[in-house]
Symmetry: C2
Subunit: 258 residues, 2 copies
Amino acid sequence: MGKVISIVNQKGGVGKTTTSVNLSASLGVLEKKILLIDADPQANATSSLGVNLYDEKTTKTFYEVLENTTSIKDSILSTDSPNLDIIPSSIDLVGAEIELVNVNDREKMLSNQINLIKSDYDFIFIDCPPSLGLITINCLSASDSIIVPIQCEYFALEGLGKLMSTIRQIQSHHNNELGIEGLLLTMYDSRLRLSNNVIEEVKMHFGNIVFDTIIQRNVRLSEASGHGTSIIKYDANCRGAINYLNLAKEFINKNLNK
Amino acid sequence: MGKVISIVNQKGGVGKTTTSVNLSASLGVLEKKILLIDADPQANATSSLGVNLYDEKTTKTFYEVLENTTSIKDSILSTDSPNLDIIPSSIDLVGAEIELVNVNDREKMLSNQINLIKSDYDFIFIDCPPSLGLITINCLSASDSIIVPIQCEYFALEGLGKLMSTIRQIQSHHNNELGIEGLLLTMYDSRLRLSNNVIEEVKMHFGNIVFDTIIQRNVRLSEASGHGTSIIKYDANCRGAINYLNLAKEFINKNLNK
Ligand SMILES: Nc1ncnc2c1ncn2[C@@H]1O[C@H](COP(=O)(O)OP(=O)(O)OP(=O)(O)O)[C@@H](O)[C@H]1O
Ligand SMILES: Nc1ncnc2c1ncn2[C@@H]1O[C@H](COP(=O)(O)OP(=O)(O)OP(=O)(O)O)[C@@H](O)[C@H]1O
Ligand SMILES: [Mg+2]
Ligand SMILES: [Mg+2]
């Protein structure tokens, strides 16, 4: 039965989209059936997987799913990455935050739809936008757990308190099943003293919910997303690809016993 | 008469806060009187200038200004950086997007308040959150122009179309004075072919509205914000400080003839 996992952190540019795309693609290569939902109006995950938004095929996006004007099955597209489907996003989503405010059950729009397709996949990942507004609340209400990317820079821990209190609010009002899959350290640069300090601090505060796998800074990851393909297809031997394949294996082991 | 400039880009992690803090501080060192407004619930600009949010002094923040429960003058704090004041942000701001929706004139809350203090400063900068929701709309409605930081990475140009169409909407509905101060290329790494491609592409698309000054990738900028101080006070001789001082001089020259 498909487990739903949101990739979330309201801090911008920490590696949410890079992790959503490359963890999904790595799990697909390891024979898991994966759906990636792009819930960010910037639609970076959509273009990172080479989906052309201006193509007439992509008329149904996450925006129509949230507004309930399409069945979720009609919005699913296949990608050139094995075992990986995507629900694309679109810039129309920017309006959803304001449009949804006066709708009944506005926090549950997504969970009602996701239940229709959960059993078709092993895992469903949601790439969240850099905010804690209604779109993100909808994603968290529909999720079984979260992965929080944390950049190895100053401020890495700054917004985490607010994120954790939002999680507690979701657990008590909308979704008491929501757990934490793990915190993921990203953009690690071993030459910088700063990166090593952040790792120590995060492990001290959060202990065993931090993934052992650390994603290193590697420009090939940016290049791959620019070419509209996952790191596995772009350059399977680079540091970025090895990091994300190791993360996928660690993720599978964590979920074996469940 | 104080000119109001929003630092805006809905893409996360592109250097909005780093630019807001260090351009403001550099202009302060060049004897301009500056106010920085932190309009992001993450409150990174507030902590980058060493303001302690848990101190009883900082009870009035941008949240209270937007909700009209304090006079804007009462929310202004001085910083340890010469000629630079700040209006701090707080995490309560996350609720403002939803709270403001049903208020009359919801897009103009900030411009009504800013007019009371405009003449006390040469320039007022606003550090915007990574989204195009009601908070950002309020900031743009209250601004004379915008600076758009663009990271020298793939996708740098992706969201710009949507940002420009939002600007046009603001110009026709709320603020026909809104102009573009410039596009600023950030996190440039001369060793990467990718960075050079992005610069060529941006200059080709946008020509002379791109600042000549380019901000290079320099870890001292992260370290400075982690220590709660501007790059000028932290390490005035490093690349990051020289880049932002040059930007400040270029900015002053652009505004001399106005
Ligand atoms: N490990 C890495 N090494 C080098 N560059 C990286 C790495 N991870 C991400 N990047 C680059 O950093 C930038 C930000 O990453 P990404 O877009 O994944 O973050 P995000 O959290 O999804 O951002 P947003 O908050 O805008 O949604 C992108 O240009 C991406 O290519
Ligand atoms: N020129 C630079 N060189 C190196 N690191 C930088 C540079 N500019 C910014 N950074 C670092 O990159 C990260 C993102 O920068 P910053 O927080 O200024 O972006 P932002 O656009 O304000 O992000 P958000 O979308 O979350 O508001 C921070 O950790 C910052 O210290
Ligand atoms: Mg993203
Ligand atoms: Mg910022």
